[in-house]
């Protein structure tokens, strides 16, 4: 009897479970998440050197994951929680509201920013913090808030506080030009030069600790690979073999570099142990093998090779050194970069008479062209794997551009430094 009752209860439970309607949703809105960044109330008593809330709104907007509401469309500008009219924000279709205040302490000579992120639908405070900084650090604070908001909502760490490195070419005179290596905030602001040369500079690459940059410079008259400490600007030559010394890329553990050398007569892929200075040749083919980068786990490299007659992307395990061709669509596929999860590969793809940034799914081998600009080159993935920065031709100048990995968000980084090339996105910087 007891057993029957148990079975009956179980049956009724199963029935009740089955009776519930189930709806599976695999698609989301094509639009970005609406968020209102209310201008922070200035309680400092004087003008603030940076519009913090504007920087935050721009950061989130550029990410492609958020759609920041224009201030002119806001029905009110609450400074604190109890001033929020949730019905208004809901009517405006906003999911979140960010409010904040900015104060200045004459005693510490620092600005204090307090902010709150409110979920409009639940009317709950989901994030809040008080940060302080000097006036020069306000921009950094703004990026920090952007990162926190981005991570709180998306679960993905924001890259607004990261840096980018890039090389500019400035024509000084008719016969004199200057190559400069810059490091700036991820939004292109706050740039400062760390090295310059009248000879070409190529392929900057951030170490994974964010402390060093490896790059190729011809400033000695021949190509050599250098490592430079970003803050101290201390530079160290790594390789300067005869022939090509190019395309250095830090291994995930920063213990070695993968690079292209032609010291043996042909452009081949090598790894270079930074501790022992040992080289390990990975490729051995009469075709040109170059532009190698590491897989996230550091066990594989992908590179460009024309061994098939045309530049295509190959993969190779650094132990067995057996190349595997990965790209088959198009005549030109080069400069591959793994996604952070290793599931996608981004590279330069030639199609429709132009060079574009494309992605290939490593499982399905489906290719997606992400950009519509032409002469795209040097893709570099953001540390959170959400954005790709690359250089492209805009007008008569080369500029930096960003595209989201799904191709949804695109923007250019303004520059007044001439041609801008060879971007490299830093890792997270603490």
């Amino acid at each position: 009897m007891k057993l029957k009752f148990i079975f009956l209860s179980l049956f009724l439970f199963v029935q009740s479970v089955q009776a519930e309607l189930y709806i599976e949703i695999r698609e989301g809105s094509d639009s970005a998440l609406p968020i209102a960044i209310v201008p922070f109330a200035n309680k400092s008593g004087s003008a603030v050197p940076y519009d913090v809330s504007r920087i935050i709104a721009n950061d989130l907007q550029r990410s492609g994951d958020f759609d920041a509401l224009s201030t002119s469309k806001m029905l009110s500008l609450p400074e604190q929680y109890d001033q929020i009219h949730f019905r208004d924000w809901r009517l405006l279709g906003q999911k979140y509201v960010l409010i904040g205040q900015l104060k200045y302490s004459a005693y510490t000579k620092k600005y204090e920013i307090s902010y709150e992120l409110i979920d409009v639908l639940t009317q709950q405070r989901v994030l809040g913090e008080v940060l302080s900084s000097g006036s020069k650090g306000l921009r950094k604070l703004a990026h920090k808030i952007s990162d926190a908001v981005y991570e709180e909502i998306t679960g993905v760490r924001g890259v607004f506080s990261t840096k980018i490195a890039y090389i500019t070419l400035k024509q000084l005179t008719k016969n004199k030009q200057e190559y400069r290596l810059f490091v700036s905030d991820a939004d292109g602001q706050n740039a400062h030069m760390i090295f310059k040369s009248h000879e070409p500079m190529l392929s900057p690459s951030w170490s994974n600790d964010g402390q060093h940059l490896a790059y190729v410079s011809f400033h000695t008259g021949r190509p050599a690979i250098y490592i430079q400490h970003v803050k101290s600007s201390h530079q160290r030559k790594v390789t300067s073999f005869k022939g090509l010394n190019s395309a250095p890329m830090w291994s995930p553990d920063d213990a070695s570099l993968v690079m292209t050398l032609s010291k043996d007569g042909n452009a081949e892929i090598y790894t270079y142990d930074l501790a022992t200075n040992a080289l390990n040749r990975l490729t051995n083919h009469y075709g040109i093998d170059t532009e190698a980068s590491w897989s996230p786990n550091g066990k594989e490299v992908v590179f460009t090779s024309d061994r098939s007659g045309r530049p295509q992307v190959y993969r190779m395990n650094i132990k067995d050194k057996v190349p595997e061709r990965l790209t088959f669509v198009g005549k030109y596929n080069a400069r591959p970069r793994f996604s952070k999860d290793g599931e996608s590969l981004y590279y330069v793809h030639q199609s429709n008479g132009g060079f574009h940034i494309a992605a290939i799914d490593m499982k399905t081998s489906e290719q997606q062209v992400l950009t519509s600009t032409s002469l795209d080159e040097s893709p570099s993935l953001s540390p959170n794997g959400r954005m790709i920065m690359y250089s492209t031709l805009r007008g008569n100048s080369s500029v930096l551009a960003v595209v989201s990995v799904d191709g949804g968000a695109k923007y250019f980084l303004p520059s007044d430094s001439g041609d801008v090339r060879e971007p490299a996105w830093s890792p997270f910087l603490n």
């Binding site: 189930y22 949703i25 698609e27 809105s29 994951d65 998306t154 679960g155 993905v156």
Partner: protein, 324 residues
């Protein structure tokens, strides 16, 4: 004298007889014939009277008797003589009497004629009156008769009509009865045929019933299936509408590809959200929050008009958000 008296008596008797006859005649039922005969006699008598008055008096001549001889005795002769004499005397007396009588008769006749003329005149007048009366009577009679005839005719017509009516009624009744009879027969025949037909159809019906039962069962099943399909279509329709609404509100966080959060949504019958809870986390707080937020972002969920269907299917919905 006696002889005359006798004759007179005889005549009176005849007249009496005649009168009796007339009376008898008068007693006759058919007065028309009586009247006609009287008139005829009157006419004849008048003609006779007229002709008699205009003719010369008739001369009475003695007609010689032929001699007949017979032997008779003296007594007889004497008797005969006496008789003859008596007879002669009688004859003379008679002649005298006759003369007197004739005179008297003549006077009487004259008187009678006068009287007769008077009577005749009177009679003529009476006759005229009578004729007029009779004519009137006749007219009246005729009118009465005509009236009677008319009445009779009417009666006859009425009777005829009644008879016709009666006949018609009888005919109709007969026809009705006949019809009823025919109908009854028809009904009986039809019943017989029907019974036969029913018997004939019984077997077929039995087969058809089986087929029909199967068909009905199939149809019922089909209708149930259709109904279920319709309901399923309705459910799917609103599932899609809800999915669309959710989709508009859903912003999958990055880097959650393949992760799934399952939430239970409770709705009011109006389509408004009662509650939403995570029943199986995706492991990503962002995705869990995105699912909840998407549900909360729908102001009113689209629901079918059928409240029973809403109560049965849509009051509690489990939603699985699988990040693409």
């Amino acid at each position: 004298m006696k002889k005359i008296s006798a004759t007179k008596t005889n005549n009176q008797t005849k007249i009496a007889l005649l009168l009796d006859a007339l009376k008898a005649i008068f007693k006759a039922k058919d007065k028309r014939f009586l009247l006609a005969s009287v008139l005829l006699h009157i006419v004849l008598f008048s003609m006779l009277l007229i002709s008699w008055q205009n003719s010369e008096p008739v001369k009475i001549s003695s007609i010689p008797n032929s001699v007949q001889a017979r032997v008779i005795s003296l007594d007889e002769l004497k008797a005969l003589r006496e008789k003859r004499e008596a007879e002669q005397k009688k004859q003379i007396d008679k002649k005298n009497a006759q003369k007197k009588k004739q005179e008297l008769k003549r006077k009487k006749e004259l008187k009678r004629k006068k009287e007769l003329k008077r009577k005749k005149e009177l009679k003529r007048k009476e006759l005229k009156k009578k004729k007029a009366r009779e004519k009137k009577q006749e007219a009246k009679r005729k009118a009465d008769e005509q009236k009677k005839i008319q009445i009779k005719k009417k009666q006859r017509e009425k009777r005829l009509k009644e008879e016709q009516k009666k006949k018609e009624e009888e005919r109709q009744k007969r026809e009705r009865l006949e019809k009823i009879k025919q109908e009854k027969e028809q009904v009986k025949r039809q019943e017989r045929e029907q019974r036969l037909l029913e018997k004939m159809q019984q077997a077929e019906l039995e087969t058809q019933r089986q087929f029909e039962a199967e068909r009905v069962a199939k149809e019922l099943s089909r209708q149930q299936r259709l109904s279920q399909e319709q309901e399923l279509n309705e459910i799917n329709k609103y599932k899609n509408l809800i999915r669309l609404k959710i989709k508009q509100q859903l912003h999958y966080p990055p880097k959650t590809k393949g992760l799934k959060v399952t939430v239970k949504v409770k709705l009011f019958s109006t389509g408004e959200l009662a509650s939403v809870t995570v029943i199986k986390s995706s492991g990503s707080q962002a995705l869990d929050r995105a699912g909840l937020s998407a549900v909360r972002g729908v102001v009113k969920f689209p629901l079918p008009e059928d409240q029973a269907l809403v109560d049965r299917e849509f009051r509690e919905i489990v939603m699985g958000f699988i990040s693409p």
